[in-house]
């Protein structure tokens, strides 16, 4: 099994710490808030680990980016994954869904044999939700996106796919690609043994030449969509707080207020 994991700015950081530099169209990383593995990707690792628990198998993690902090990208190893491959090179950086997926797909080919590829449903930074589908398209694989449960039975994957009013149960032959949603449940915590093991494990680092790809096809150079502008929407701070001596009195005042402004 292969799981693609992205290092992102912590999406749980307080919204007030979020800043955009309009001159560069880039996000200014907040001070003192370390990056994390994108939460859906952690849950993709969890999905793979549950299959490993039930059926065995080996899990290879692939992370793409620049400035990858070893403590961050090794977290899937400390959760129980086996190997870590880093596509770490400036040429890989700042791609769109397509050019990022292209590099990942070429790395997956180089890793070799696999039954399942897992990705998060979307990354917590650009919220694109395309890389999984693009990897599947490049590798000619079927994909099931936005999964809440994945099991392997008789050489097939049985996937529960989140729908607006419940879920669909879908069967797909292997190999296949699956993207994972938060409904799968929380990712497990690393164990002490896992953390010690991960410390000793050195990631494999691949450059564009290792994948045999033209740097013009990956990262910023390979983009099909260009970022024209990045900005923060202006919020109108205009909340009217209803106060009273007791919470119960405040509640009554709020109810009257809502009727007065015809919000009911």
């Amino acid at each position: 099994m292969i799981v693609c994991c992205k290092q992102v700015l912590d999406p749980e950081a307080p919204p007030a710490t979020f800043k955009v530099d309009p001159a560069t169209n880039k996000v200014v990383p907040p001070q003192g808030v370390p990056p994390v593995i994108s939460p859906f990707d952690e849950q993709a690792v969890e999905a793979a680990l549950r299959i490993k628990d039930a059926k065995g198998g080996k899990i290879t993690i692939i992370s793409l980016g620049t400035g990858l902090l070893r403590d961050v990208v090794k977290k899937p190893l400390s959760m129980g994954a086996d190997d870590l491959v880093l596509l770490e090179d400036p040429a890989f950086a700042d791609g769109d869904g397509w050019s990022t997926a292209y590099a990942l797909a070429m790395a997956i080919k180089k890793v070799g044999k696999f039954d399942l590829i897992f990705c998060g449903r979307q990354a917590a930074d650009w919220d694109g939700g395309q890389v999984g589908s693009a990897i599947a398209e490049i590798l000619g694989l079927p994909a099931v996106t936005v999964a809440r449960k994945v099991e392997v039975l008789d050489g097939k994957a049985r996937v529960e796919r989140v729908a607006a009013d419940g879920y669909d149960v879908i069967e797909v032959g292997l190999p296949a690609l699956i993207t994972v949603s938060n409904e799968l449940g929380a990712a497990r915590y690393p164990t002490i043994k896992g953390i010690m093991g991960a410390k000793r494990k050195e990631p494999i680092v691949w450059k564009p030449a290792d994948l045999g790809v033209d740097p013009a096809q990956v990262g910023a150079a390979g983009r099909r969509t260009k970022l024209a502008k990045l900005f923060q929407p202006v919020r109108e701070a205009k909340c009217e707080l209803v106060a009273a001596d007791t919470p119960e009195e405040a509640a009554v005042k709020l109810a009257l207020k809502l009727r007065e402004v015809k919000a009911l």
Binding site: P15, D127, A250, L258, A263
Partner: protein, 330 residues
């Protein structure tokens, strides 16, 4: 040269979906700016009868792929049929809804066509100089917005529900209906739908409710949601939740409001013990009036709400529900 706009007219429960009408409404304006026509594609089984309603909602031409093999959505079958229609119609812009089907279909279709998609857009503009589509989408969980330009053809985008306005349907509008042979090989569809499971709560549907009462992490357990249900019942509304509450299984996942849950646009949104993360606000910021109850005066929700009480919801809610019951009985 690619021309005009093509809309995926998604069908839900045997009817043209709301998002399809919204896309057709917005597609009309874009097609006029681009100097092309508005085409739609209708895919499914027994859907041919809906073609006239697609024209009434604004399409100049509807391609209809009606085949029993298309009854249920499968990525492979839908991508193959729509790819064929796109090649025949030659649009410059392809629009889909950011629905469970659209978010699966759009990227795969785009990559099959050798182009790329911009997902979950909340605004679509045409650059007057280049005549290229400039879609705006929320990024970083709603903390920022990005405007993209797609450099390949066709330019594919999915659009969030309820941000575009449909036109008033005109049953007398004329348009062309083109039938498309699906010509699917069953073996080419590599996924098999085994079962559809409905999990939605009884009562008013979240997406259609005029009042939504939502609870967050601070509710603390499933019992608290019973109190929210009580309030929702008084207001004839629906109960929603933020992601942490769903992840803790205090309420069904189908009730999640937010970036990865549902987008709601009620007249009144009551956020109880919700901090108001950008991810959550992405699902409810279209509400006319947001009311917040939270014990933390610094909570982000007070930057988004119109009215609020800083206090413990356990003390506020019973009195609030009782007073509203009294007011609404008058």
């Amino acid at each position: 040269m690619p021309k005009g706009v093509l809309v995926f007219a998604e069908v839900s429960d045997g009817k043209l979906s709301g998002i399809a009408a919204e896309l057709l409404g917005c597609g009309r304006g874009l097609a006029a700016e681009l100097g092309g026509d508005l085409t739609a594609v209708l895919v499914g089984s027994n859907v041919a009868g809906l073609a006239q309603s697609v024209i009434a909602a604004g399409a100049d031409r509807v391609f209809v792929a009606d085949d029993p093999l298309l009854a249920d959505y499968a990525t492979d079958s839908y991508v193959s049929v729509i790819e064929k229609v796109v090649k025949q119609a030659g649009p410059s812009v392809v629009l889909l809804g950011q629905t469970s089907i659209g978010r699966d279909l759009a990227p795969r279709l785009a990559f099959r066509l050798g182009t790329a998609a911009t997902m979950d857009c909340v605004a679509l503009a045409i650059d007057p100089a280049t005549k290229r589509l400039m879609p705006t989408k929320p990024v970083y969980g709603g903390n920022a917005r990005a405007v993209f330009a797609c450099e390949t053809e066709p330019q594919v985008a999915t659009v969030r529900a309820k941000v575009m306005s449909p036109i008033t349907p005109d049953p007398a509008r004329h348009g062309e209906i083109v039938s498309v042979a699906a010509s699917l090989e069953p073996a080419a569809v590599r996924t098999k739908l085994v079962q559809k499971v409905k999990e939605e709560l009884k009562g008013v549907k979240l997406e259609e409710a005029t009042v939504v009462v939502s609870g967050g992490r601070g509710i603390g357990g499933p019992e608290g949601f019973k109190e929210l249900e009580e309030l929702a019942k008084v207001l004839r509304g629906a109960v929603g939740a933020s992601r942490p509450a769903c992840d803790s299984a205090w309420i069904a996942d189908t009730q999640q409001v937010g970036l990865t849950g549902k987008v709601v646009t009620p007249d009144l949104y009551i956020a109880v013990a919700i901090s108001g993360s950008s991810q959550h606000m992405a699902g409810c910021s279209g509400a006319k009036v947001i009311v917040a109850v939270n014990k933390d005066p610094e909570a982000n929700i007070f930057k988004e709400a119109r009215y609020g009480i800083v206090g413990d919801w356990k003390k506020v809610l019973p009195a609030f529900t009782a007073k509203l019951k009294e007011l609404l009985a008058q």
